[in-house]
Amino acid sequence: MLRLNQMKVHTKYIAGLIVVIFFVLCPLFLNSERSYFIYFLYTTFIYITIAQGWNLIAGYTGQVSLGQHAFFGLGAYITAITWRAGLTGYFDPLAFLLSGTGALLLAAIVGVVLLSKLRDDYFSLGTLGIGEILRVAALNGGSFTEGAAGISLNSTAYKSMNHYYYTALFIMLFTLVVIVLLIRSRVGLALIAIREDETAASANGIPVLRYKILAFSIGAFVTGLCGSLNAYYIFHVHPPGVLSLNWVVIPVLMCILGGAGTFMGPILGAFVLSIAFELTSIWMPEIHPIFSGAFIVLVTLFMPSGIMYYITNHKSMIMRRLRLTVFKWMNQKA
């Protein structure tokens, strides 16, 4: 029995590995300079990373942050400022590290202040405020941030889409591995305990604040990395672009859609939502925002806890229907 279980776990890993290898090989059989699929994957990887970062603090730990765009924007600004100052270069690992660390530090500072004092909705509102403060600060940052004009970067440095694709893939895999390790460890248990009952967790000797800040900071770190990559991609860092609420709203949507607090949730949610958005803007260019809104409303109405929970709760039914359809289809073919 034990062996069987282990084997199943192995198949899961193998399936995951196959998917990763598929992603790694993609640019080899597709021209990444002309393939929309590569670009689509690149953006989805970024969204998955941010969504997983948010999942860690909101899904697993239960502290709903609405300030992820602050970390994203900070990462982008650090990359832009250090590059402009000549401290780092194009696709400089140091710049990524600095951006991530900057976001991490901001999260730690914000965390110490907000997480110790605020709970639930108050924390959400507080983080939203942090993001907006950062936006206004960037707007009024004088020559340091170039205010509303933003920082223009040297766009002639662009070489190949592959750089972006592989960096995004790497950042996403890094995030996924970190989260798997974290969730499988004692820390993960502690985080879930905090989500379920904070008082009980603290009564059981879990240093609640420390773990919350840890989760918040790790989420911020990976979000900062994404911000940095986006700065290199867009070559123009300005407040309405990198500090837009889009960078918190879309990943949060993906995460909730997939199922917050599950590992596969954000990944599934990101793919489903990206594909839905893409297809609607191709098929119904005139009314695609209406569809996006309706899509979100319908999903929350019928799967309020996310696709993953829906699947786990209805798996026998889904399987039965799936088998039936496949069966019918085969019969028809025959």
Binding site: Y39, F40, G147, G150, S152, S155, I234, S244, L268, S316
Partner: protein
């Protein structure tokens, strides 16, 4: 555990099916006997008002050329019809880059007509087009920004900063001396455009020996401007140059009137040209100036007609559709002269030739830049009267009387 892994496999399978579907849609590039031109426009989001006018003008230009049988392309030795693919960039810089990626990679577009909205649309579009060496036929972005990025595959047909800014003061100087404002205030919105404009205005005001008494920023989407109004009152400003969106400008004018702060000249940018501005304010909008890219009163071929067509459709006048129409005319003529739809050849044809448009003759320089003279208009009884450029304008600016004397 067993069921979970089945579930997992199913999920992966579903994703694979979707991927493959995507690969297919992603790779299929319609290559018929037509010229595909792409464009990304702010059809939704805060820039929607501009985007729809722009799309209308593009559509008209494409319709007109197709009615004439298309563009003669030497490579095909035939007249080829044009197809425009205009997609929404939601007035967002990230989405604009994504839109251009999609145009290039999904639709296989190699010629792109300009988006709108400067740093929020055109700039990310140009940067993306440049990456894949696709020709971007641009407008509505600051010359400095354009040059800063050293674009090789883009061109710019835009108004001239070095002309627009002095234009404000030249117009002021055309007033009789006793009616001229002496203490101008500058109100600019908190955006890329606002920043560039504010700095340039302050610089040129000095050149024209105007002493700027107040330089204020206006928050994007702000709902109250009493602070700025009170400051203008205490600084005793008598002329104003204001760059902001329409809702903000309307609120500002209403508050100016409520507080009885009168300006001899109210020069508006961006927010004052839409007809909705006049509808919102009625008579109070009289005497206010607005910039405009173009006027249907210009004596160029087709100008009157395109203005009339716009009026027939929307029952309002536009000071911008001519620019967009002209932009298309330039591109179509360039394709014909290049005899090809190859982006490099088209770009070459752009810089080599001179073009006739509803906005006059256009000649690009070696950097791929052509500048035109921006117009200036004054609202009077619901109509925008063209007051600048002086050589084309039939109307002369009037200084605004104080609110109480209207």
């Amino acid at each position: 555990m067993k069921q979970r892994s089945i579930l997992y496999r199913i999920t992966i399978r579903c994703l694979f099916i979707l991927f493959i579907g995507f690969l297919i849609t992603g790779c299929s590039k319609g290559r018929g006997k037509e010229i595909i031109i792409g464009s990304h426009l702010p059809l939704s989001g805060p820039g929607g008002l501009v985007g729809l006018e722009q799309k209308w003008a593009y559509d008209q230009a494409v319709k007109d050329i197709n009615d004439a049988g298309g563009i003669y392309v030497k490579e095909y030795d035939a007249k080829v019809p044009v197809r425009l693919i205009a997609i929404d960039d939601e007035s967002d810089s990230g989405k604009a880059a994504a839109a251009v990626e999609r145009l290039i990679k999904k639709d296989g577009v190699e010629l792109i007509l300009s988006g709108s909205n400067g740093a929020m649309g055109v700039l990310p579009g140009m940067i993306t087009a440049e990456k894949y060496k696709v020709y971007y036929h641009g407008t509505l972005i600051w010359l400095e920004t354009f040059l800063e990025h050293k674009f090789k595959n883009c061109s710019l047909y835009n108004f001239d900063m070095g002309q627009v800014i002095p234009m404000c003061f030249e117009v002021w100087n055309s007033l009789p001396k006793d009616q001229r404002p002496k203490r101008p205030a500058i109100f600019v919105e908190d955006s890329f455009d606002g920043k560039m404009m504010g700095d340039a205005l302050t610089m040129f005001a000095k050149k024209f020996k105007y002493n700027v008494v107040l330089h204020q920023s206006m928050g994007l989407g702000a709902k109250d401007f009493t602070t700025q109004v009170i400051k203008a009152k205490s600084a005793n400003a008598d002329g104003i140059i204001c760059l902001a969106n329409t809702p903000e400008t309307v609120t500002l004018v209403r508050q100016l009137k409520e507080n009885d702060v009168s300006f001899k000249v109210f020069q508006g940018f961006k927010g004052t040209w839409p007809t909705e501005f006049y509808k919102s304010l009625g008579k109070d909008a009289d005497y206010i100036l607005c910039d405009g890219f173009w006027s249907e009163d210009y004596p160029f071929k087709g100008a009157k007609e395109i203005g009339q067509r716009f009026f027939d459709k929307y029952e309002k006048h536009s000071t911008s559709v001519g620019l967009y129409y002209a932009l298309c005319q330039i591109l179509f003529q360039a394709i014909e002269k290049a005899g090809s739809t190859d982006p490099v050849k088209v770009r070459q044809a752009i810089t080599d030739n001179e073009f006739n448009t509803v906005n006059g003759k256009v000649k690009y320089d070696g950097r791929g830049v052509a500048l035109y003279t921006s117009g200036n208009f004054q609202w009077m009884n619901g109509k925008q009267q063209n007051i600048y450029p002086f050589n084309l304008a039939k109307y002369k600016i009037k200084a605004a009387p104080p609110w109480k004397k209207r």
